[in-house]
Symmetry: C2
Subunit: 415 residues, 2 copies
């Protein structure tokens, strides 16, 4: 990777794919719909985007998206474009306009999806990246090996600060490593952020004093910049160890401001991700999208879970988790900790571990903890045992023989 | 509109639409996948989202989006949900997680699109909205009636500050009311923001001193919050009258911070909009999306143009333009000025005026100005004359008889 920004796309087009790719490159750099005198060969040489590769695949009979040019057949192709760093400099917000701006509407395309991006090292210098990542999260949570066993405060919304703290007390006593606010709960009138931090940290600090174990709680501070900074400071001051932000709510400028300020890991929530990704020939692959947020400073990135309750296939979940663990730069890997959640119980750890290849993750369950027949502590224990078994290369069935919490969980969740 | 937040959706589902709508409402408020003891009837009464209306329409044989539950047929329906304001308070970033969060992935849906939102008046109190809007833009640009005739600096990227200023000089001499940076040009090493503002404002101020007419230039200050504030101050200090931000690059927290700070109109660029909207059964309608940005403070909102060079149909363009002119609140209308652009020339004003119903817009053309056979001044003149004719209820052909710039434009652009 030299001094060029690269982006990989999947395109679908009724016109010649090479011409379509050239149109993308033109529209996203020095090109214009109408030729202008200033677009000299020298300017083009210095600033034009290049089509680096074009790999035409199958053709299909019907367009994936409406509204564009029509044709007999629609060719699908993968395309890599590149831009000189000098066009925008190492600038994340403006990178968006370059790699994901006025592209998706181009009438040459009946499909256009951003698959991946690769950035020059100058970006690694310009942005903080995750300040804590996997190692920092392990240090602050005291979990040296295996996943952080996590959960979420439910119901999503409606609890007062005191009721929230009561739930947190139960979860701490059950031995969880990690708890998060729901993304619907930030600073509502019924559960103001500051009050919630105070009541919850009282419980968590008391539990830490008693047992030496301090659960990491991700307080959802999503909001305006100055509020987020102030809320972060309150969490820090009261001994909290994590803050959470909804990426699609705060946006890149908000996330960068928070990340430059933070002295705590940022738990990055991807709610809204569905509208960016669910149409197969439009929008974003997680690999590309998550790189922006990792570089901006996300320490934990949500990736859904195996056999989840949403519409995402397992292969996609694993690809996402692996991607955020893959280094971005030599000088600054920007590795984030993947967060597995949604419909998780003691059933999925073996496959999750086998396919991810490590246990450097947050593994969150709701019903998988709270609905354990022997209570939440047994629920947490069953998840730990399921991971221990997987990491030891022992089948869950075998391991369950000496571990009743796991045994009961397998029985229960296999239904 | 009382104290509830409302959102309209288009859904497609293989399950009973009423059950699917109830699942949306549950997931986005107090509901949980696994019942928890804390979700009491009282809590539900206070915090649960409600299905206000459900209007089942046609069924289709194939799902619009993959990955969800499958069935024999997929019913389409429009659904209105509502939430009590007390869940989040008047909070724009957190509104996102509520109306457009973990919804689009729900496996009950093979399609889910957010069509519109309606907010309690408390939101109007909490956010700035457009500080200038149509009236303020007219005042600062000196254009009392008719559209602001606008254009964009092209090539998109590659000009130095001095070259940019040269182009601006030509455009000012041609009599344009409004000029904008390309969205690819913000603060690149080849054309640093500060230098560009200095060279361009020298030209614009000199022209204003000579002629009394100061063109409004939208400087693209997209970037980190503190940079945007500082750049705004520089523009203000040098006599500039507009700043521009790419909404999908800065995000809501960035936009709100800029809008609270600004003393100039904010020209809001929607690049990237395609990935949010182009799949018909996914994502966002412009009406819903633009309301967030109007309330956050956007004075000018891009809406594409009739017979544009992208894939958007004309009906959609007009619906977008009308929507940003439709008041949001009694106490704070948040009316933004629609910006028409893309492939515009003297040909489209009659229909644009007829369908929009007014001339309160920015009407931007590139080739429609620069490629006029008698030069840019005639290009600008031809656009003014086309709008004058439309506003006077005279056909362009008739009007062209006494107006050679328009006559030549009709000849040229009709090809």
């Amino acid at each position: 990777m030299s001094d060029r920004i690269e982006a990989d796309y999947l395109i679908e087009t009724p016109v010649d794919p090479a011409a379509a790719a050239a149109a993308m490159a033109g529209e996203q750099s020095s090109g214009t719909f109408v030729a202008v005198p200033g677009e000299t060969p020298e300017l083009r040489e210095r600033h034009a985007a290049r089509v680096e590769t074009l790999d035409v695949r199958e053709t299909v009979a019907a367009p994936s998206l409406p509204g564009g040019t029509t044709g007999e057949r629609y060719a699908r192709a993968s395309v890599t474009l590149s831009w000189p760093l000098r066009n925008i400099g190492p600038d994340l917000p403006n990178l968006m306009a370059t790699v994901a701006g006025n592209l998706f509407e181009l009438r040459q395309f009946s499909g256009l999806r951003l698959l991946d991006i690769r950035l020059p090292e100058a970006f690694a210098v310009a942005y903080p990246g995750p300040k804590f990542g996997i190692d920092g999260t392990r240090r602050l949570s005291g979990v040296a090996r295996g996943p952080l066993i996590g959960t979420i405060v439910k119901p999503s919304i409606g609890y007062s600060p005191e009721e929230t703290a009561d739930v947190v007390k139960t979860l701490c006593e059950a031995g969880v490593d990690f708890i998060k606010d729901d993304e619907l709960q930030a600073d509502g009138p019924n559960c103001p952020f500051d009050d919630r931090v105070r009541t919850v940290m009282r419980v968590i600090n008391a539990q830490a004093d008693r047992t030496g174990k301090k659960a990491m709680f991700a307080f959802n501070l999503t909001g305006e910049i100055d509020d987020m900074r102030r809320r972060h400071d309150l969490v820090r001051e009261l001994g909290g160890t994590c803050v959470m932000a909804s990426l699609n709510s705060v946006g890149l400028a908000g996330m960068i401001a928070l990340a430059r300020h933070t002295e705590l890991p940022i738990h990055a929530h991807r709610n809204g991700w569905g509208y960016l990704t669910r149409a197969p020939l439009l929008g974003w692959d997680y690999r590309a999208w998550s790189k922006l947020w990792r570089l901006a400073g996300a320490d934990h990135m949500h990736v859904n879970g195996l056999r989840n309750k949403f519409s995402e296939p397992d292969d996609s979940v694993i690809a996402s988790a692996k991607s955020v663990q893959t280094p971005m730069f030599e000088t600054k890997p920007c590795v984030a900790m993947p967060v597995f959640s949604s419909g998780q119980s003691a059933l999925q750890p073996p496959e999750t571990y086998r396919r991810l290849g490590n246990a450097d993750c947050i593994y969150a369950a709701g019903g998988g903890i709270m609905a354990h027949p022997d209570g939440p502590a047994a629920g947490v224990q069953s998840l730990r045992e399921a991971w221990d078994a997987a990491m030891a290369g022992v089948s869950a069935e075998d391991y369950a023989r000496g571990h009743p919490a796991l045994a009961r969980a397998l029985e229960k969740y296999r239904g």
